[in-house]
Symmetry: C2
Subunit: 251 residues, 2 copies
Amino acid sequence: MHLDTIAATLEGLEETIISKLIDRAQFRVNTPAYEPGRSGFSNERDRSLFDLRLRLTEEMDAQFGRFCVPEERPFTPHLAPPRRTVHIPPTGLHIDSFDTISVAAAILSAYRSLLPRLCAEGDDGHYGSSVEHDVFALQALSRRIHYGGLYVAESKYREQQKAYRELIDAGDHAAIERALTRTEVEERIYERVRDKISHAQQRVNRNVRTCIDPEILVAFYREYVIPLTKRSEVLYLLNRNHQTSGAVAER
Amino acid sequence: MHLDTIAATLEGLEETIISKLIDRAQFRVNTPAYEPGRSGFSNERDRSLFDLRLRLTEEMDAQFGRFCVPEERPFTPHLAPPRRTVHIPPTGLHIDSFDTISVAAAILSAYRSLLPRLCAEGDDGHYGSSVEHDVFALQALSRRIHYGGLYVAESKYREQQKAYRELIDAGDHAAIERALTRTEVEERIYERVRDKISHAQQRVNRNVRTCIDPEILVAFYREYVIPLTKRSEVLYLLNRNHQTSGAVAER
């Protein structure tokens, strides 16, 4: 539960977010894939191809136990329990249900608003590939944001228990968020994201692969990834179970 | 159906193979995930976690129509038809069934033999993530190998119809493969794969991400990816339908 180790993991998850978003940008916006009733699936008038892909992927992943991992928060409610026992090593977290820190709905909405900026406008017909890559990008975002929400919050709490305890008892969301904020760390993350995207695209053959403007993702990190991580951290602290040892919450 | 365009697409698919294999290398070999009866799924005594992940993923993908795409050849036999209509633009290919060019079983076996060289030995418990990434890597390999098998073969055939016609009529597999081989192109691919891996890993924080030895993938390309592409090309030419126009085979 050292902040340096946690920051290093977050840095690793960043690679995945960047590569999944670049993969999605290989396809156009493809609006019909997001329109309910246009999936082509029979008996699915209320869902879009995107909705179906997300739900069916998460239903499959749930069987394998993906959502037993604290930071893997799903976008689909009421998933079935896993078909196998997943052994999660002790997490050191103090929380009764990982879903209390979920900001999945806000991630989904943020991601949908990113698509018209990330992808070239229009329609290339690759609906199946587009929604497949959407799901990978959403999973990468959920993992990063909730990982930060859980572990950064617990780590910072341990460093300053008394101060956080007071803010939590007062239920002062805004003050908790201010206490959690490290502006200089956030700026370093934006800089690193910018560098990584530039580097990843440096030697790409542009006749073969579409490149993205790094500033689009830097802005997305600034407007959504970091604020949602902090919102999830606040949720963690407000729901932190102070009566139990970490072991109780480790499933 | 120009060889330059096809080569550019193959180059793009290379990025995906490299990134998926680097992703898998973030986890150890994790042998129990490949042992039948150790998946933890009840009523699945004969299958490993890997077998189940591959089959369930392909069953889901089949619903969305992935395998209507000529180069997306599955590893699982007898998949159900898609639940939606997939519009595939005219392919220019002349073949009655794309499965006649499938070398999926050989790709699977080659991939399994790569794992102990690609990943650190031992067991980190991340079985679910390991097999999830296996499936992505296998899909990327299948796409590249079968894309080459179909389009490179058709393109070369069109350039030298008479010469290929004679070799095909004689059923001379070895001579067809010799005629398809461009050693200098293959060497350029190996060099490019080596460069891409080195570049991709250049600025990676090695405390966070595991790096792989580029030579392992260069050897894998040399021993499997290129030879299997050529085997698939030979299968295409032997099964090429000379009586019909491309339109008939375009579904």
